[in-house]
Amino acid sequence: MTTLTTEADAPGPDRPGDGDAFLSVRDLYVHFATEDGTVKAVDGLSFDVARGRTLGIVGESGSGKSVTNLAVLGLHNPRSTEVAGEILLDGQQLIGAREKTLETLRGNKMAMIFQDPLTALSPYYTVGRQIAEPFRKHTGASKREARLRAIEMLDKVGIPHPQSRVDDYPHQFSGGMRQRAMIAMALVCDPDLLIADEPTTALDVTVQAQILDLLKDLQQEFGSAIVFITHDLGVIADIADDILVMYSGRAVERGAVREVLRAPQHPYTWGLLTSMPRLTGDVGEELSPIHGTPPSLLAPPPGCPFHPRCAFTDEVAGDRSCHRDRPAPPAGRGAACHLTAEQKHTFFTEQIKPRLS
């Protein structure tokens, strides 16, 4: 769920209030100290996810998607990273929590699926052992019980012959099977929060669809909250309930999936949508990328971080506010943009929508 305070004009499905959020991130800042200065990887981000819901986080590389979620798990190196704000997991504050506390939550109450299943699984231990490890740690199960559990999980994620594959090493698995094993590993303790960091990016399209179906099925069964990170809007449309679009470490647009994809309000989201190739389009048709490059996180542009790449800055009333003022982050359905609601609607329906159909 992505609600802070529901805007009056926000339509959409009924939203649970703050109290129902299982994961609640408030004003999150993640800054890295580097030799060149401070990298503001996440710069004031808030969102909520409720049990049984899926939040899709979209954005370019370097927009802060992965950093945010590594911060939720507390996996940043504390020596070079400054994390501020609030991360509440089921009401428990995770920022500043003791490492021991985080260890009992990781893999247990919150789990993560990583992008590249080849490098994210250890080559030195069997798949079964890697799945059984967190189960033994968090439940105190015996070696035998944990092994049976690993077989059960492999079966659940659709690995054939789990009794024998449990003793295989990751390199003996195909890419899709490795990602399934990774999911089995993340779900072995029935986590209430599952963070999937581009889990399908390294896979081919048919396997990708299978993995998405698997995640949906498992969510139905376990009722977990899922945070799904991707840069693929097609995947988001398939799996997410809500969308958070990130740019330069901030939220630029949020809302229910249908709202954001049908009537996006932020020029950056428009850019993402129009840059997708269309199956129905002419083969010779040129793709229209978003011009420019993602902003430097060391010295982000003043004002709206998207303004150097935005085609609509001249339309904003007032004296160069895009260059001067940082737009307020969207609360509930909305976009962080200086354009008025009417302008957003007009520009989208007149200029953007025709290019999408």
């Binding site: 798990l73 996996l75 020596r79 490492e99 260890e103 009992t104 939550l105 990781r106 893999g107 247990n108 789990a111 993560m112 990583f114 590249d116 490098t119 994210a120 699984l121 250890s122 080559p123 030195y124 231990y125 490890e133 967190p134 740690k137 968090h138 090493y169 390199h171 990774m182 590993m185």
Partner: protein, 325 residues
């Protein structure tokens, strides 16, 4: 595994054959005549011819090489007497049988190598692990800079320094010497203590640096992060996940080091006047002593190749992705 060892052993034989040929023919490229050296100042052409014949260097070089190689496998007869296989002939300089000399010298080298290796492996890996575990802290900085300084040291510098201090200044120990372990274990230990420590100082520093950098590299691997994300403790992840992967470069270097040390630690043995294979190799080259050069060379090469095979076999135990066949 058996097929792997068999195939590698055959390969090793080929390599040794090439090494023997190269060494043999290179020896004759050196413009020094061993017969002239043996003949002395008042040498007549007749005496020289006799010496040449006795040394077996009156024949064409390829024929000599053939006799030499046959001797290794089948034994040979010399003016000094019969020489059973493996026969490397008799030393030009001392007239001693080469093979027996090598066998006599080998225990010194083995004692020096194994004693040093145990210490430098344990201490070096340990220090590297502590530095990697505490990376970025004062401990790490002290360990890293100390190991950088120590690994830049040379045995022929540190050795005499330690000798001057421990033996001559403080009179704590006697001059290093080799006493067979079977004769006098305490004497063996005390006699080799200084060489061990000096070898160890330099090698330990190298292994500290190697194990630290290799561990830090492993700690940045994705699968280490995954293990952390599963809730495994920092210590568990460090020892189970990162350490395992860090072993591969260490085993590689350790195999090379051990192999070449078994062939004779020339500088160390020379520095402490220990009668091992290293001093034997240096002496034989200085004396233009062909049979001894060949013997020591092939003996040392065998160990280097042997440890290379062992390292490759060890990979299979460390990394299941390595398949030996």
């Amino acid at each position: 595994m058996l097929r792997f060892l068999l195939r590698r052993s055959l390969g090793a034989l080929v390599i040794l054959l090439v090494i023997s040929a190269v060494t043999f023919f290179l020896f004759y490229a050196v413009p020094r005549d061993p017969a002239m050296l043996a003949c002395g100042k008042n040498c007549t052409p007749d005496a020289l011819a006799v010496i040449r014949k006795n040394m077996g260097i009156d024949e064409p070089v390829p024929v000599q090489y053939w006799h030499f190689m046959v001797g290794i496998f089948a034994g040979r007869d010399f003016a000094q007497g019969a020489c059973p296989a493996p026969c490397f002939g008799y030393s030009f300089a001392t007239q001693d049988p080469v093979w027996q000399t090598i066998l006599d010298r080998f225990p010194t080298t083995v004692s020096l190598t194994l004693g040093g290796a145990v210490v430098f492996l344990v201490v070096g890996l340990g220090a590297g692990m502590i530095a990697a575990w505490k990376r970025g802290t004062v401990v790490d900085k002290v360990f890293s800079s100390a190991s950088l300084v120590l690994s830049s040291m040379q045995i022929y510098f540190v050795g005499p320094l330690v000798l001057a201090l421990v033996v001559y200044q403080l009179d704590l120990l006697d001059q290093p010497k080799y006493v067979p372990l079977t004769e006098d274990p305490a004497g063996w230990f005390l006699g080799l203590l200084i060489p061990w420590l000096v070898v160890q100082i330099i090698f330990t520093a190298n292994y500290t640096r190697l194990s630290r950098s290799s561990l830090i590299e492993q700690l940045q691997e994705d699968h280490v992060r995954t293990a952390r994300a599963k809730g495994m403790s920092g210590r568990f992840v460090f020892f189970r996940y990162a350490w395992r992967g860090s072993l591969i470069p260490i085993v590689t270097i350790f195999g090379v080091d051990l192999g070449s040390l078994f062939g004779g630690a020339m500088i160390t043995e020379w520095t402490f006047s220990l009668p091992g294979l290293g001093t034997l190799a240096v002496d034989s080259v200085r004396n233009t002593d062909l049979p001894m050069v060949m013997g020591v060379m092939l003996f040392a090469a065998t160990f280097i190749i042997l440890f290379n095979i062992l390292v490759d076999a060890a990979y299979a135990f460390i990394d299941p992705r390595v398949r030996l066949s």
